[in-house]
């Protein structure tokens, strides 16, 4: 079980690195509203919504990884 837990921690760490990469390299530079007259916080709000969606997707992936790693070893 220790190796399964260490593996799960490692997967979480890798997901954090990849998530950071997506946010910085992909989401950050996107100019959703171009140079229009929309206030900055609209663009920021939309990016925030994307980032929150990403977190939800990550939690879903973690949930699946958790089931994959642990369910075959556990009866509960």
């Amino acid at each position: 079980m220790r190796f399964a837990l260490v593996g799960f921690l490692f997967v979480m760490w890798i997901l954090m690195l990849i998530g950071g990469g997506i946010i910085v390299a992909v989401l950050g530079p996107i100019s959703l509203l171009g140079d229009s007259s929309f206030p900055w916080f609209v663009s920021s709000g939309i990016k925030a919504a994307f980032a929150i969606s990403l977190v939800i997707i990550w939690i879903f992936i973690l949930f699946k990884v958790k089931n994959w790693i642990f369910t075959k070893e556990l009866n509960f």
């Binding site: 990469g21 920021s44 925030a48 980032a51 958790k66 009866n75």
Partner: protein, 330 residues
Amino acid sequence: MTEIIIPAIFSCISSFFTVYFVTPPLIRLLIKKNFTVRDVNKKGEVMVARPGGLVIILGIMSSEIILYAFFQNPEILSIMSVTFLSFLIGYVDDRKVLGGWFKPIALALAATPIIFLGTYDSNLAFPIFGVVNIPILYFAIILLMIPITGNTINSIDVLNGVASGFMVVASFALSAALFILGNYEIMLTSLTLGFVSLAFYKFHKIPSKIFPGDSGALALGGMYGAIAIVGHVEIIAAVALLPAVVNSFLFLSSMKKIVEHRQIKGKPVEHTEDLKLKATLDKTAPITLVRLILAKSPMTEKQVVNEILKLAIFSGMLAVVTAFLMRVEL
């Protein structure tokens, strides 16, 4: 570098020895006043003093005042404020049974000194890829960080020495990360958290003579979260805390809602005849880190604590690696 050595010596000595010398009389006082709870993992009616949060906050405040006297840094002031508010919330919870939502909401409010004192940077730093500016979302991160770290440490405080031992590893790993990143003043703040936890661990380890209580766990967790934000090491702090985060994640994903431990009907762990810990097969019980560790076979409390601390050391190493990766940019 030399200008931080003297404050480092004074603050670390103060944090460690305040807790080290004040805890024994506090234990005697708490026992005398009948502020004790039963240690459910021991044979017979073993009563343990609680809450140790009083001595934890004393140790933290004494060292933070020293650091503030040296540096007059508002960042230290904001960490102190968040820590003290987190302690107060925990102390209220120690004395009264409160609803499951009280702590997260109150801890979010405890984070507001960071906003009012402006001791944050809305550039969130990620390893390898650099920083991203998130002015709106960062407010949400500030308000979420303290409830997450506070409740995460609180929820892992289930066996003798786990919460304090875990904080020793996590805060020293965070200190190493802050040193690598050159944020020396906040590194000293993190070091004092490590020394407070270390001194408390002496009395909290198996067999516990005192429990931190919600006041102690929330003070430790709240301070850790405040250091993460003020020191701009949010991701590294999360990595060092991963086993405790896994515990909360497993708990929430199995319970599907935020509940107080007192409200849970199914027990995740039970005792064998020789008083070892054993995972139950109860489908209504939450899945926790301890339950997973015990899934294969029963273990003594000490063995489970050692397993958790080994996981904490692994995460601490990942946190230090993450700090090095922060200095790498593609």
